[in-house]
Symmetry: C2
Subunit: 362 residues, 2 copies
């Protein structure tokens, strides 16, 4: 999507044709800085330190990381070692494992001198496939928005989203925000309520930044505000992303998603989750019982990063010194609260039959 | 309640017997600073700049402010003018208006030379009445906690609270936290989940500080986390305060309260609001339709105060420059989601009959 009026992706090759450019997302929203990666170690570090984040983008960055490694040493041994190093940067990321498997499957059968060129081709394919999947998610979501926008006459359709399921988490488009961008680009008047999404504030730092740069009208709110807005008819539609979806349509997503789904249900506001089929875990059904929820550093709750008046990024304490904090990263929204699941195949009801109908081969 | 092991109130007379000591709550939780007020102007400024906050405490501080004014000029004219000045500091605060009326009613009939002593007596009565009301709220809530704690055997009872309805908002005890302090002091094992309560973070900066100083076990969480905790049986009871309660038992309280009530209802967790009878607005019934919700400065959402590593309190930006934000201060939790209302008279069902039964004369 656009940054400073220019089309932009989260990852691309530099003009030299081999080094890799990424956005240093740790500097957002205060600074737009592009990092150039020249070695596999630099790629691993960018994933580890969260310069790149978001499941699809991590996979793409690791694929290009392998390309950089092959330029220095295309042997079997180096390939395996580098894949191992990259995997360890975020051990629970499903897309990362998938991308490493894809690359190894393509490259190991080839002669070492053919590998580097083949790796760059495969990494580019992985990126393009992600862009296309998300564009399709957007097209299906767009139909939903078009239908709802008709009822609003020419007044803007108010869409609430939680966390960042935008293009910064992917290569382009995003998942929850893909329909938003397509609708905006199609001239449909929309306005987005952006949950700030404590404790890491991805709504404020990433979603608001994305929407601002692409010119989509939006308003930042505290995570506490959505219920009040829905009670007063100020939200027409909720769209969120998903980190893991069960076979019965339970959605595991950033902590706080469940609370918004409850409010949407209580006020008759349609609530959708948007994600690619790769997010579905067909082996589990009951998300609340079966999905272990990662606990993160309590310091994310007791401290906060922000920009000082003299433009320095610093961390400040917001709680008494020594306060114990709990920091659960995700929660599970049961399927019964979800109006529908937006995927690259189509929109399905949030149920076992609904998902199975979309993906009969899975 | 206790600070550094010593009993403390939010407001009291200095050892000189006439000047007024308050806690500068703007410095919390990072610094415990006591301010000494010597003039009515200083009292007005302390209310205006939120050194003191919380409806009961504002009323008490204004009452003492009037005492300070009378010391300089006990005339009718000065009394009226000072009451006017104090009223204007927080024009929507119901307790402030009530306190000014009480003081004027007591003082205007007296000869000027009798007024100062009478004013100090009446201000002390207002403070003592607040302490006693909140202690009674605590006693009723304590019975509830005792009953629930029995079922936990010797495991701690987990209580979730939102915002700060503690002693810092009152003269002592607090409303929602009064039962918590009484239970803790009675040796009942309890643990409090403290919602940080964005955007002003009163949970992190005030509730966590109160509980820490009084020695009550607690854990700070993002506002987003409560739903997940309740889904997993980690919350036994929710108690919140109230800013305004309608005759049918709808509760207007800090923004985000409604979301927690929804989660409690969805998971069968008892949800109580605790407040004095003075909080009830008998003239309105439907809180969602009839209570106008104050919008506060958007900067509270886009910026945040915290302590730097070198112990300076500063404000940092957490959103892109120029981001529009909406900042609704309160929301309304409909009575149907509330298990009961804890008042100084007793605990009532959240309904018109329930409240009328407690306060038949109102």
């Amino acid at each position: 999507m656009k940054v400073n009026g220019q089309p932009c992706r989260t990852i691309r090759l530099h003009a030299d044709g081999w080094s890799v450019e990424i956005i240093d997302q740790r500097q957002l929203p205060h600074q737009f800085a592009v990092l150039r990666l020249e070695t596999v170690e630099e790629a691993a570090e960018a994933i580890r330190n969260m310069s790149v984040r978001g499941a699809p983008l991590i996979g793409a960055a690791a694929a290009y990381g392998l390309c950089l490694g092959l330029r220095q040493d295309p042997s079997d041994k180096a390939l395996r070692l580098n894949a191992e190093t990259l995997l360890k940067t975020r051990p629970t990321a499903v897309n990362l494992r998938w991308a490493m498997n894809e690359m190894s499957k393509t490259l190991l059968p080839l002669a070492p001198e053919q590998r580097t060129a083949a790796a760059y081709r495969r990494a580019a394919e992985i990126c393009e496939a992600d862009v296309e999947t998300n564009r399709q998610i957007g097209e299906h979501g767009l139909k939903l928005i078009e239908k709802m926008a008709l009822k609003k006459k020419s007044k803007p359709l108010h869409i609430l989203t939680h966390c960042n399921a935008g293009w910064l988490a992917c290569v382009d488009w995003g998942t929850a925000l893909s329909p938003v961008y397509l609708a905006h680009d199609a001239g449909i008047p929309i306005h987005v309520w952006v949950d700030e999404t404590r404790p890491r504030n991805q709504g404020a730092s990433l979603t608001a930044w994305e929407l601002k740069n692409h010119g989509v009208p939006h308003t930042l709110i505290a995570d506490n505000a959505g219920g009040h807005l829905m009670q007063h008819g100020m939200v027409d539609l909720c769209i969120v992303g998903a980190d893991r979806v069960t076979a019965q349509g339970d959605v595991c997503n950033k902590i706080g998603t469940y609370l918004k789904a409850l409010a949407a249900h209580d006020n008759g506001v349609p609530f959708y989750a948007a994600f690619p089929a790769s997010t579905i875990d067909w082996k589990i059904a009951d998300g609340i019982k079966e999905i272990p929820i990662e606990q993160r550093d309590p310091r994310e709750v007791t401290h906060l990063r922000g920009l000082t008046p003299d433009n320095t990024l610093i961390e400040v304490a917001v709680a008494p010194e020594g306060t114990a904090a709990a920091n659960y990263g995700f929660d599970v929204t049961p399927a019964r609260l979800i109006s529908g699941l937006i995927t690259e195949a189509s929109i399905a009801p949030a149920s076992a039959d609904g998902l199975r109908g979309l993906f009969p081969q899975s």
